[in-house]
């Protein structure tokens, strides 16, 4: 049965919901947080404006009202403080979920994330766990001002001790967030903010015990001629490119990477061995990016299956541009298709 919620704000106890329901990605995250908080009293939320306001994107809407101010904590405006406090709560046995208001605001917390959150398990010989989830609305496409459209995931994927994931659709948003919160490791959870309003079917009552593994990539469209790897906001773009390519008689296989650390190389390599061609796309800078890592690993593991050099479609080596220019900056279906063409020009 599929039901559409007319007024998502009335989403109350998740058990009362029929499953699956159609929800925008943002509401699916909200339902995921709610479910995680119901399932484990040690789950606490920290962030700026996440209480009465429900967060600037309303992802925590209604949670403070139902769980109280000690489970949904409005913090002072200090990112290092938010993450550092979460570290202490984790020390005490809590499972903090931190909201970083916008991607570009994460840098003041960078030290706490890479020096403390990522390393404490290692530094303490495994005695102290850091089951912290750091939610980051990221990426461009919403016409925002400076510091509100960045893609910093590569910094974190390069840091040992962190797990880094990004969801691309409502169903994954719901389940992956709950899986991230249940993980005993810290997880950087990148939310594609321009897809917050994209609707999809979500089973909010599903158990995470038998859910699709958090760190497994997913072939979201099968194809035979070339593989396109995307994650987060660009999965929809890659699927759009595959639609266009199909009209031109080219069959693209699209992989939603989902996890940036660890990387699911098995799924990637299997696809490349099948298609012989690979295009990797992300909004983050191409230089030293996730795509570079994937290209390097693919040539190590699939060199003799490749029909053409791996192509990358990503951000230029410039700061995120003004909103009026972002359409030129962001990878779109045309740029992905252009890269596919290049891989056929051998």
């Amino acid at each position: 049965m599929t039901a559409t919620l007319a007024a998502p704000a009335t989403l109350s106890a998740s058990a009362a919901l029929a499953a699956p329901v159609t929800l925008p990605l943002g509401r699916a995250l909200n339902a995921g947080l709610r479910r995680a908080m119901e399932d484990d009293p040690k789950v606490v939320l920290l962030g700026e404006d996440i209480g009465k306001l429900g967060g600037v994107f309303r992802i925590t809407d209604g949670l403070q009202k139902d769980f109280g101010p000690t489970r949904v904590i409005d913090t002072p405006l200090a990112e290092s403080g938010i993450v550092g406090t979460a570290v202490g709560l984790a020390f005490r046995g809590y499972r903090p979920v931190v909201e970083i208001q916008f991607d570009g605001f994460i840098y003041p917390a960078f030290d706490q994330i890479v020096s403390q959150v990522a390393k404490l398990h290692y530094r303490t010989g495994g005695n102290v766990k850091m089951p912290i989830t750091i939610r980051v609305p990221y990426g461009g496409g919403i016409g925002a001002v400076e510091h509100h459209s960045e893609s910093p995931e590569g910094y974190f994927a390069q840091t040992a001790g962190l797990r880094v994931v990004s969801c691309s659709n409502a169903a994954d948003a719901n389940v992956m967030l709950r899986q991230a919160i249940a993980s005993d490791d810290p997880v950087l959870f990148f939310e594609p903010k321009r897809r917050y309003w994209q609707k999809g079917e979500v089973d909010v009552t599903a158990s995470i015990a038998d859910a699709y593994p958090l760190h497994k990539a997913r072939v979201v469209r099968a194809g035979t001629d070339a593989t396109v790897i995307a994650y987060g906001p660009l999965v929809a773009t890659a699927l759009q490119a595959a639609d266009v390519a199909a009209g031109e008689g080219r069959s693209l296989e699209v992989i939603d990477l989902r996890s940036l650390s660890p990387l699911d190389m098995d799924t990637i390599a299997a696809s490349v061995r099948k298609t012989g061609r690979l295009v990797v796309t992300h909004e983050a800078a191409t230089f030293m990016g996730i795509g570079a890592e994937i290209a390097a690993r693919v040539q190590e593991q699939c060199f003799y299956s490749l029909e053409a050099p791996v192509q990358r479609v990503g951000g230029f080596t410039i700061p995120y541009p003004p909103a009026k220019l972002e359409e030129y900056f962001l990878p779109d279906a045309d740029r992905i298709l252009d890269a596919v063409d290049r891989s056929f020009q051998g």
């Binding site: 403080g81 406090t85 709560l89 020390f91 005490r92 303490t124 102290v128 089951p131 699911d264």
Partner: protein, 368 residues
Amino acid sequence: MDTTFSAAVDDTLIQIVTPEGVRTEPTMYSELVGDITTEKLRDLYEDLVVVRRIDAEATALQRQGELGLWAPMLGQEAAQVGSARALERDDFVFASYREHGVAYCRGVDPTQMLRFWRGSTQSGWDPYEYNMTTPAIIVGSQALHATGYGLGMKFDGAEGAVITYFGDGATSQGDISEALGFAASFGAPVVFFCQNNQWAISEPVTVQTHITIAERGRGFGVPALRVDGNDVLAVLAATRTALARAREGSGPTLIEAVTYRMGPHTTSDDPSRYRPAALDDEWRRKDPIDRIERLLEREGAMDESFRQRVKERADATAADLRRGCLGTVEPGPMSLFDHVYADPHPLIAEERRAYAAYLAGFEGAVKS
């Protein structure tokens, strides 16, 4: 106990024993240590002597090439012993990297402290076993962790309190300001214990602040005390006051323990390049151990057999430390990959496998 005091800063230095070993006029603070009988004062004296000896032995071990580095605490014994002896077992300590005296008081085997500096481990002990974290090298970060832990204690309705140690240099870090702000906003049961040892490597405290560190608490609404950090009884009293406030739900307190780092920042540092010897001499006269020795002498409690007993205890601890250090079994190469993640991570597993295979290729393969 009356623990109310104004949020406005009283910059008077709390002192109970003068450098000459004379008790000052009774105040509310001396009443707070009224239970410290001669016997307990002798115990504190023993602590001071033993931790100084641990520090000296570790410094010697570094000079002999057994440790990569050591951060000496010479001169700061009273600040550490006085504050640590105010703690209960359930209290939790978020330390910096110079708190060897605090670790000793928490029951940590000195050998465990050394292995971090030897480079044999990243930690040395299980924080939950002693309710004390292992060294935090990024200065100031631990104050935020203490605040979060304290918040968790408050949510849990726990009896205990949290204390976090940092130096005067750390007070310039944003994390200390953020921790004071968060702790004040949430009423977290945290004692912020600053050992103002006057030097952040080569920079005098005047480079960090032109007001007292205690005064800085005021801007955050955190009551602050300024205490003679070389007076073990005054530090004990001040810390008891702050802990009592935390336990009764009155929130955080900042303590500025005014002391002096008699040695280098670490064994790699050379204070003669930046510090006038006359200043060292001035502080040598305020030595935290000498003054308790003088007090005990004045009170007729410093006899030869006691002195001998303390010396033997310090010698024995140092001998254990040396034996433990030299007997360290160094971890094998495959332990590089241990504990990076709590759950299995395929890329770590892949690197571990590849490195094991590489090592196995050598004749008389390297131990794992």
